[in-house]
């Protein structure tokens, strides 16, 4: 596709429910990033991949959060046993290699835990 695509755009989950958020990066982009953005705050880094390798997951807030990118393209962020504090917009970005540092972001998935 022309840009980074995220689905669903909106997700309402009951507390305790598991959710899976999908990211389709730009074709050929090596790096893929996940961020969590609370209302009025900047995006907080969660994790990133280079191809299928998860190089850094230091931003994942707890072991309820898990991300994968098994074939080096599509990525899924999974949140188990959701809690109200997980309510946020989850952003995905991808980036090509080389000296151009531009990352392309999707529109995000707004997760609301009730």
């Amino acid at each position: 596709g022309a840009g980074v695509s995220q689905s669903p755009r909106y997700k309402v989950a009951k507390r305790g429910q598991d959710v899976a958020l999908r990211c389709d990066p730009i074709s050929g982009h090596v790096s893929l990033f996940w961020y969590q953005q609370a209302l009025g705050q900047g995006p907080e880094f969660l994790t990133y991949f280079q191809n299928e390798a998860q190089l850094d997951k230091s931003g994942l807030p707890s072991d309820r959060f898990f991300a994968e990118r098994p074939e080096g393209s599509v990525s899924t962020l999974k949140i188990q046993r959701t809690q109200q504090e997980d309510s946020a917009v989850y952003l995905c970005a991808s980036r090509h290699t080389g000296e151009n540092t531009e990352a392309f972001f999707g529109q995000g998935t707004r997760l609301t835990v009730v």
């Binding site: 970005a93 540092t101 392309f104 972001f105």
Partner: protein
């Protein structure tokens, strides 16, 4: 990773030039300075990137002094549609490098 500091908010009027300054005292040799813009309900969008001196594109200019410890994003003749949050980032050109956002500058443009 170099930390950045920028004003929390700024106000200006349509037609004015707006300059947003960012400090990044611990910038490394391999780091680029990159600015993103974010509108409500959208993901951040790349505006401009530079290493040193001045860079200009169709949207903005980026001024970087010789010591690279700060940078200034310049938006010429702003309009209401430039109301957004602007983030200053320091990013390594290595593809194996995470991208970290700060709190950004909330720019409000008035008629």
């Amino acid at each position: 990773l170099a930390k950045t500091t920028q004003p929390i908010s700024m106000d200006s009027y349509e037609g004015q030039e707006v300059n947003i300054t960012c400090s990044h005292n611990n910038i490394a040799t391999n780091d680029y300075i990159t600015w993103y813009q974010q509108f409500p309900s959208q993901g951040p969008r790349f505006i401009i990137q530079g290493y040193k001196t001045k860079v200009t594109n169709e949207v903005a200019s980026l001024f970087i002094p010789a010591d690279r410890k700060s940078s200034t994003l310049s938006l010429p003749r702003v309009s209401l549609s430039d109301t957004a949050v602007y983030y200053c980032l320091v990013v390594s050109y290595s593809s194996a490098s995470k991208i970290i956002f700060g709190s950004g500058t909330r720019l409000s443009i008035r008629p």
